[in-house]
Amino acid sequence: MKKRSYRNPVGVGKYTGLWLIMPFIIGFAAFTLYPFAASFVLGLTDSDGVHTARFIGADNFTDMLASSELRGAVWTTLKYTLILVPLKLAVSLLAAVLLNSEIKGIGVYRTIFYVPSILGSSLAIVIMWQFLFTSGGLADQLMGLVGLPSVGWYGSSTGAMAMIVLLRLWEFGSAMILFLNALRDIPAEYYEAARVDGCGRVRAFFRITLPLLGRVIFLNLVLQTIAAMQEFSAPYMITGGGPMKSTYTIGMLIYDEMFRYHNAGYANAVSWAFFVLVTGVVLVLFAVTRRRREEDV
């Protein structure tokens, strides 16, 4: 084997870089690798977080597969993700396209569109959302203004899901910023050439913009999917997972098992399985978009 030579400035040894990244190595071992492994091991026990745990093999995992509550939570989480992520990508891309024009006062619009995602997951916003959607609140009043009946947001499973989706949709700013960056990198000449050839704006969007954004669409897709699958604080605070568990996500289930019922072993087994699920979903996203991504590299 040929010995690898390290390209470093004169007088810098090959371990200098390693020393510099030492905080990351230690942190990765302690706060990612360790909990990841510990989670799996705890998942094989009947730990309640207090007493000495007993090794019970794969019992938690078989319990999990048999649990209808968990199946429900998985289904709710996937449904929520499937509704939210495409909507969020579409809205943030549309907003980015509109905000990409160089007109007067555009900076102010950019800032305003970004503000909800800054305050984003803050609890104050979640409380605000609760008030907006209580019966007779702003949402109902606005529906009344356009002649629609009150939905009963908290009472129906569709209404409850809609409330949470709308909250997260409102916070599309971070996805929008990524799109906005990518849009700025597209040379204006492309559009001028298209216009000269008689290509309209809408067609230019589908033929030029969309293909060139392939990579950032994918990045947003992955980031937003991971974030959506982990949803916890909105259902926890707004709907409490209800009505009839219609907004009971995996995140809530793990939290409840751990901190309400003190089933640490089971909770860890679920969270480990959840990691496998998220990884699986991400791998599927990679596989499905693979051909398209290779095309635009």
Partner: protein, 275 residues
């Protein structure tokens, strides 16, 4: 007036973005009846005393106390995050070393790790170390470049600084650390501002970690005291009080965002990081 449709669309969007917040501020002055009778955000009367009542909270402490708690978490966490992320990114961007590719792959991979998977074993670890219900679990991990996205963003920026700067400084006898502190860090100041602001906002918003790690009420950060207050409101409770608390709770984030807005946006737009 070719731009008119665009302005109309943008303005409609901007209203949808900002109206809930205006409504929240307005509602903090409204009686329970008024909140549910009018969609218009401007209140009938402006009674500031609700803010004095909100400031006193439902606990023996004032909101000032919980602001102090929040800053006791945010300040060390921000300093730790900036210092450790800069060191690690510098290592990745400017040096060659064994297993570099592997470690960089792990860094990228850790960005995709769902927090909920690691939070429970960590909770049990901190409890066993007797550090549960202290701020250590909330701040210490920041010393170890815990946020992979920041490192990634910094690496991109370091690569944008010409290597000739390094060479010139080294010829003048500058060592690796002095080169970083005196030459490179000043070049990447906008990203450092972005990272500071992001850490501030994310910590301000974080709910799950303090919910799990902090159990005594007097140590609560703002997010948890808001939850406590929201939970303890029953029928006939004065709604505007919790709304006013929420408004107060949003002020630091809005202030920091407003102050750093220009630099912050230029930092993220150039580095391509999102929240």
């Amino acid at each position: 007036m070719k731009k008119l449709p665009l302005y109309i669309l943008l303005t409609a969007g901007a209203i949808a973005m900002i109206y809930p917040l205006l409504w929240l501020i307005g509602a903090s002055f409204k009686s329970n009846d008024e909140i549910f009778s009018s969609a218009w955000f401007v209140p009938q009367s402006l009674d500031l005393s609700v803010y004095a009542r909100a400031w006193r909270t439902v606990t023996p402490h004032t909101m000032g106390h919980y602001f102090v708690n929040t800053f006791l978490i945010i300040i060390p966490k921000t300093v730790f995050t900036v210092v450790s992320s800069v060191l690690v990114a510098y290592g990745f961007a400017r040096f060659d070393f064994p297993l570099k590719r592997l470690f960089f792959a792990l860094l990228m991979g850790s960005m995709f790790m769902p927090a909920i998977v690691t939070v429970m074993p960590l909770y049990m670890l901190w409890s066993r170390l007797g550090l549960h219900d202290t701020y250590v679990p909330l701040t210490l991990p920041a010393l170890f470049a815990a946020e992979g996205a920041f490192v990634f963003m910094l690496v991109q920026f370091f690569r944008g600084v010409p290597r000739e700067f390094d060479e010139a400084a080294r010829i003048d006898g500058c060592g690796s650390l002095r080169l970083l502190v005196y030459i490179l860090v000043p070049c990447i100041r906008p990203v450092i501002v972005s990272i500071t602001v992001f850490t501030f906002l994310w910590t301000m918003n974080d709910f799950l970690t303090p919910l799990i790690m902090i159990s005594s009420v007097e140590k609560y950060p703002l997010s948890l005291i808001l939850r406590l207050s929201a939970d303890s409101t029953g029928d006939g409770y004065e709604q505007r009080k919790i709304i006013a608390m929420s408004v107060i709770g949003l002020i630091p984030s809005v202030a920091v965002f407003a102050a750093a807005q220009k630099k912050f946006i230029s930092g993220i737009t150039a580095g391509g990081l999102s929240g």
